[in-house]
């Protein structure tokens, strides 16, 4: 069992090596590149599942493992930490990465250079951000993710994409600067960057420096809230996500979840039960910010005409719900929120991929890809040759399959019973109404009722908006255009939806896992001792 702890570094090294190796393969050998990338992502998924089992193996509340990369004792050098939350996020990353990659293999990966390398670097950045145990490496992995996402957003070019790419890059550069200011302020006061060590020192910060720590944490929080798209910091999100190519949009859904993940981890670690005077700092801001986001995104969902924009606002709905749930700071609510996170991530990603296929049924020949292939200059080709280029098995009964997938996505986003969206929301709402455990009779504050109403209203809005689009697309046209849909395009969508069905069927086990994750998050001492205690010299690489 000695070697298994080295698995912790695989989610970072594997995509890095694959992405670098893919640079060496000639750009014209699409199939070879795609196969290497696919093999690496499948391997990543296997490793992520192994890590998840590892994380769940330790008793309830126990931190599973930390890994000293350079074999220095914990507070001094880079440390990777695996617990249930990070393992869960890694698994979601791998599943979503695989789905988006398979989808892109139909044709998007040929629309520009270095798609697969950028995609692997994005996976590396995400893996690193979920595993890292210190704040500065979080910045580094964040930047890796962002740099790859800049390239991916521009993938396929076109004026619309470049223009939204310009906005996206500028806003994220500004947010990164805020991140740096926050990190250095916290370092200036506490003198360490290791998350566990920081959490330990929060209680010892002298009263006159407490304001500096709060300022640093608030600035750091703003940087992540920009990523998560909290109102009023999230106006950039719908246009940027709408402009991205469909598989890129699907994987971008995870980028907002990185912001949520970091907020969840850092607020509960730094300002959790061990923080003394600072306990609970920022919770109210997150709660009200989440409520505002939810209200804004709900009206956005209702107002959206284009399906891509609707998908963008659905990302914001999910962010708002999660932020408010994090702000509640209760273990049962967080557990439901984690379940909701997984299910809404899969649902929204499926919607992004579905959007492209459905758009194909709405306006034939006018899709963006035709324009991009022209702009990218696959020279000397007649328009007719594009048809031959799309080799692959075409889906029979495409419209029916698309309709069923669209219906399932609607159920997921609206949070209606047969699929997992319902369980996530139900678990969250149950937690909110029973803050002292089931059957409690304590007073429920007004803001909880507000959140409850908004969560349910946002589901209703999603239902209305999706049904309107669905009727217009599948039922209203007198002459239906049957879109050309390849099996590799519909397969990842069906797989994601099937996974959500599996989440429902195995709901008990999944809730058990998220419960344990939420409990260990609310017990910062286990994290602190796990990192500072186990990572003595000699426990890392030998």
């Amino acid at each position: 069992m000695e070697w298994t702890k080295h698995l912790l570094v695989v989610p970072i090294l594997l995509p890095l090596a694959t992405g670098a190796a893919l640079l060496l393969i000639d750009e014209l050998r699409h199939t070879a590149k795609a196969l290497v990338s696919l093999a690496s992502t499948v391997l990543l998924l296997v490793v992520a599942i192994a890590l998840m089992r590892m994380a769940d193996a330790g008793g309830p509340g126990a931190l599973s493992s930390s890994y000293a990369v350079a074999n220095w004792p914990a507070p001094f050098a880079i440390v990777l930490v695996l617990d249930r939350l990070s393992a869960l996020m890694l698994a979601v990353t791998a599943v979503l990465g695989l789905a988006a990659l398979v989808f892109s293999m139909a044709r998007w990966h040929r629309a520009g250079p270095h798609f697969h390398s950028l995609f692997q670097f994005l996976l590396m950045g995400l893996g690193g951000a979920f595993l890292t145990g210190d704040v500065f490496n979080l910045f580094v992995f964040f930047e890796v993710t962002l740099a790859a996402s800049y390239g991916l957003l521009l993938h396929g070019t076109g004026a619309f994409r470049v223009r939204s790419g310009l906005h996206y890059i500028s806003i994220n550069l500004a947010a990164s600067l805020l991140f740096l200011v926050g990190v250095s302020l916290i370092y200036g006061v506490a003198g360490t960057l290791n998350m566990a060590d920081l959490a330990l020192r929060m209680a010892q910060v002298p009263a006159e420096d407490r304001m500096l720590v709060q300022a640093g944490a608030a600035i750091l929080g703003v940087a992540f809230l920009v990523k998560a798209g909290m109102w009023p910091l999230g106006f950039w999100l719908p246009p940027a996500y709408m402009a991205a190519a469909a598989p890129v949009g699907a994987i971008f859904v995870l980028l907002t979840k990185v912001g949520i993940y970091v907020l969840l981890r850092l607020t509960l670690l730094f300002f959790g039960s061990e923080a003394g005077e600072l306990t609970g700092f920022g919770g109210i801001a997150l709660l009200w910010g989440g409520l505002a986001t939810l209200a804004f995104a709900t009206s956005g969902v209702l107002a959206s005409q284009a399906l891509g924009r609707l998908a963008g606002y659905s990302v914001l709905v999910s962010s708002g719900t999660l932020l408010a749930a994090v702000g509640m700071g209760d273990a049962a609510v967080v557990s439901g929120a984690l379940f909701y996170l997984v299910s809404s991530t899969f649902g929204t990603a499926a919607l992004f991929m579905l959007t492209e296929l459905v758009e194909r049924a709405r306006e034939p020949g006018a899709d963006l890809l035709a324009v991009t292939i022209e702009a990218y200059g696959e020279d000397g080709e007649e328009p007719g040759e594009h048809e031959d280029e799309e080799v692959g098995v075409t889906m029979p009964g495409a419209l029916a399959v698309l309709g069923v997938c669209f219906g399932c996505t609607t159920l997921l986003l609206a949070g209606l019973p047969p699929l997992s969206g319902f369980i996530g929301k139900f678990a969250m709402l149950t937690g909110m109404l029973n803050l002292d455990g089931l059957g409690s009779t304590g007073d429920i504050p007004a803001r909880t009722w507000l959140l409850l109403a908004l969560v349910i209203l946002s589901g209703l809005a999603a239902l209305v908006a999706m049904m309107r689009t669905g009727i217009r697309t599948f039922w209203a046209p007198l002459e239906t255009i049957v879109p050309r849909v390849l099996v590799v395009e519909i397969a990842p969508i069906v797989a994601l939806l099937a996974l959500c069905l599996l989440l429902t069927v195995e709901g008990g086990a999944v809730i058990g896992y998220t419960d344990a994750a939420a409990r260990s998050l609310h017990d910062p001492l286990s994290y602190i001792h796990g990192v500072l205690g186990t990572a003595d010299a000699g426990s890392g690489t030998k």
Binding site: F136, F139, V140, E143, L146, A147, Y150, G151, L154, T157, G158, A159, V162, R163, G165, L166, H167, I169, S170, L173, A174, S176, L177, L180, V181, V183, S184, L185, Y187, G188, L193
Partner: protein, 113 residues
């Protein structure tokens, strides 16, 4: 020393924020660069400022580690400079592409009326 540094950071940040809010892409790039200089100086200052101290060792032999400047912020600044440099270069490419595709150097791709 403290006042000089604080003024420098303040002036850089102020000009940077003003330029970032301007509508031209060139102003945006210069604004983001100025902001990143300000942030780099700020990180550096978090290692505490000391005037007239020996760089590594004083003349009287080995001193205590407490006399040295904190190396961590310097390492952070180095990383931040490299990353900021790379992303700004990428932004410049996108600016040129946007200029070519939209025919305007306005950040929205068209002049506001």
């Amino acid at each position: 020393m403290e006042l000089t540094l604080a003024l420098a950071i303040g002036v850089l940040t102020g000009s940077g924020v003003w330029l970032v809010l301007r509508p031209r892409t060139y102003q945006l790039v210069i604004g983001l660069s100025l902001l990143s200089y300000a942030v780099n100086l700020f990180i550096f200052s978090m290692g505490r400022l000391r005037v007239g101290a020996a760089p590594v060792l004083g003349t009287d032999g080995a001193g205590s580690p407490a006399d040295f400047a904190d190396p961590v912020p310097q390492a952070l600044v180095l990383t931040a400079i490299v990353i900021g440099f790379a992303t700004t270069a990428l932004l410049l490419v996108v600016l040129l592409a946007a200029r070519g595709l939209t025919g305007s150097d306005h950040v929205d791709g068209r002049e506001s009326r």
